[in-house]
Subunit: 452 residues, 2 copies
Amino acid sequence: MEFETILKIVGSLLAKGEISALRSLLSELNAVDTAAIMEELEPAERLRLFRVLPKDVSADVFSYLETDSQTELVGMINDKELENLMDEMFLDDTVDFLEEMPANVVTRVLRNTDAETRKTINRFLKYPDNSAGSIMTIEMVQLRDDMTAAQAIASIRRNGIDKETVYTCYVTDSTHKLLGAVPLLSLLMCEDETMVRDIMQNDAQLIYVNTLDDREEVAEIVKKYDLLSIPVVDNENRLVGIITVDDIVDVIEEEATEDIEKMGSLAPSDDEYLKTGVFKLVRNRIFWLLVLLVTGTLAGILIFLYNADGFVTDNIALIISMPLIMGISGSAGSQSSTLMIRGLLVGEIDTKDYFKIVFKEIRVAAVCAAVLGAVNLLRVFLPGTDGIKNCAVVSLAIFVSVTAAKLVGASLPIIAKALKRDPATVGGPFIQSLSDIISLAVYFGIAGAILN
Amino acid sequence: MEFETILKIVGSLLAKGEISALRSLLSELNAVDTAAIMEELEPAERLRLFRVLPKDVSADVFSYLETDSQTELVGMINDKELENLMDEMFLDDTVDFLEEMPANVVTRVLRNTDAETRKTINRFLKYPDNSAGSIMTIEMVQLRDDMTAAQAIASIRRNGIDKETVYTCYVTDSTHKLLGAVPLLSLLMCEDETMVRDIMQNDAQLIYVNTLDDREEVAEIVKKYDLLSIPVVDNENRLVGIITVDDIVDVIEEEATEDIEKMGSLAPSDDEYLKTGVFKLVRNRIFWLLVLLVTGTLAGILIFLYNADGFVTDNIALIISMPLIMGISGSAGSQSSTLMIRGLLVGEIDTKDYFKIVFKEIRVAAVCAAVLGAVNLLRVFLPGTDGIKNCAVVSLAIFVSVTAAKLVGASLPIIAKALKRDPATVGGPFIQSLSDIISLAVYFGIAGAILN
């Protein structure tokens, strides 16, 4: 059934108050789709639909609603309903939700949870942004190493239903220290009386992270080992949570967005464009624009200095090639820096490859620059370029400045990485403006030497 | 244990021929790490290590080796070993591997598989690049709707061990038509005699894709519904395979890399930088550089035309502000296009939001441009800028060209999307070079009107 059709039916059932028909229709739907339908309804209708859902489903649907709708809905339900909602929601979804809420909502939510949960939530809210702790969940299956497979499966059947993932179970000792991991499949495939400790992965095979590890590193590990979930331990090696692959998928996408934004001269931001105010959007953009104002001014000063005896103003052929040289060099530099930034991030290149990279970039730059320089000579047939000598000067300037821009573009991200900084900060606008200055200096230097 | 330590121990055990110690060490390791160790060894040593591994493990390790090592290793093993390897490897890994191999290796591999597998492999090799069919696997659990939960679990225990994922089982009828999906957890939690058809998700809840669907769309669906795997059907709605979340993670990362490369003036490429030849790297870069040569030439012609009566050459103050205006406008346009491209891709914005976006961009541009214009007036204290009137002209030009660049930058990706083209192709270098021309035209137009 099409989304629009379902939406229409839901609307008319709500209007007619046909609750049982509504309930049976909704029971056929996925929580993600139910949430999408709720988004389309008016607040009062949304509340009615929310109340029709079974408790566990409503918590699941709630976690897929957008922040605005969540805030609104929480403002409309009573304390008892809020308490039920918090009971049913996965802890990591609750924490995600609370992080977006205004202080008064957070206070009301915390007042309506039991002391134990409140303590856990407060601990979660304290994990730094972008840490493993901030994206983990505490809903998981913990087995003891002295259980048999049959006992383990019985324990999963007893406790497993509201665990976010049971497909990899984690084994701890009596002090909650992490000992190993065992896939549910292994438990199913072995004899009933096999000991958990005999089939669990341990030692070198056991992969885990610390609560304070960066979520980007966690994503790399999950990706590298094709995991469905990864255990998170505290500084005493006690199992405190797990991170599931669906949250890792979000991390990978958000990190890619951040890099893309940095390359596009933007301050990285998690906010959705359509929901972000004008001044916040300005704030994300103005920094790099002001930097470009400064570097553009520096380029201007460079031109002014070269023009000491009218060298620039006397020569229109020189002026009309400026945009061309700056444009080509900027992109040449940005090509190299893009490859390095992405390669460093996905682990395809390493700082120790630096000299190999420089040697390769010099060869690539030489070939590109030779092609561009040759094609540029065709411009001799255009008006204003003032003869083959001037065109040759431009070709030479392209050759040198493309090579320089590629070397700088390839080097800066690797140097940033070696200094433990984020390579993406020296991509995009940074390399573009730097290569503007380099290319103008190269151009006027060569032109001055040959034409004067 | 550290990787370097393990590597050293493996090396010395290999040298001494202590095979049983080696075997027990390797049994502690993850296939990913064993593959990483093999990468570090000499080809002959690599072959010896490969032969030490149990058959099923060696196939797993092989699928994690880099293409070069795979080719080399296949060239060194005999036909019997090749046949075993192909038997043990997951079909999707085999296909991935064959896609990278030269024709003679493919022929030899196909000669050493049974007729049935050969037919399947050939079918897989025919799925278009980037289609769901090209990344699916046929190793999965198929249940019949008339089984009981106990029968289903027995069937999984019997067949499940070499299935890539058993955690969501798919239910078909006798003609292999997809009827529903049932999580292994549901099978475990219910009574033994419950019928599979009574607990499976079907109708609106059942999510599946077609073999020919684009892998990027598949990734969006898996992400949206937080799935561990998704079933793939053919045009007759028959279940032909599944795609697992680990392959989706790779798709998301590769698609992000493609977009980043397009923004960085590069032709998208799957090849690792360090393994790509100089001429291939040149090929990926030269297109945009040549485009910029052309647009730079157009910008030059523009300057030449404006200079008809020496307007440009007479005025050094005009010339020294050119890099500044071009740089700021290029980045302003690239900021807007980046937000649109990413927003369209992750589904945060839609072509129907166009007018809302234009209105927002105009306001953001106005505020940014006002700030930049005001700061620009400070340049009056620098030599060469030639007084407040000239600076005011530049400020006005910044205002108009930033606004224009932002409008064009925001519009083009949305128009591309509406025309069913990839929005990323009009980002990065495209918008940069377009805004170079726009900003110079605006600048000289305003300067001509005010200063003449």
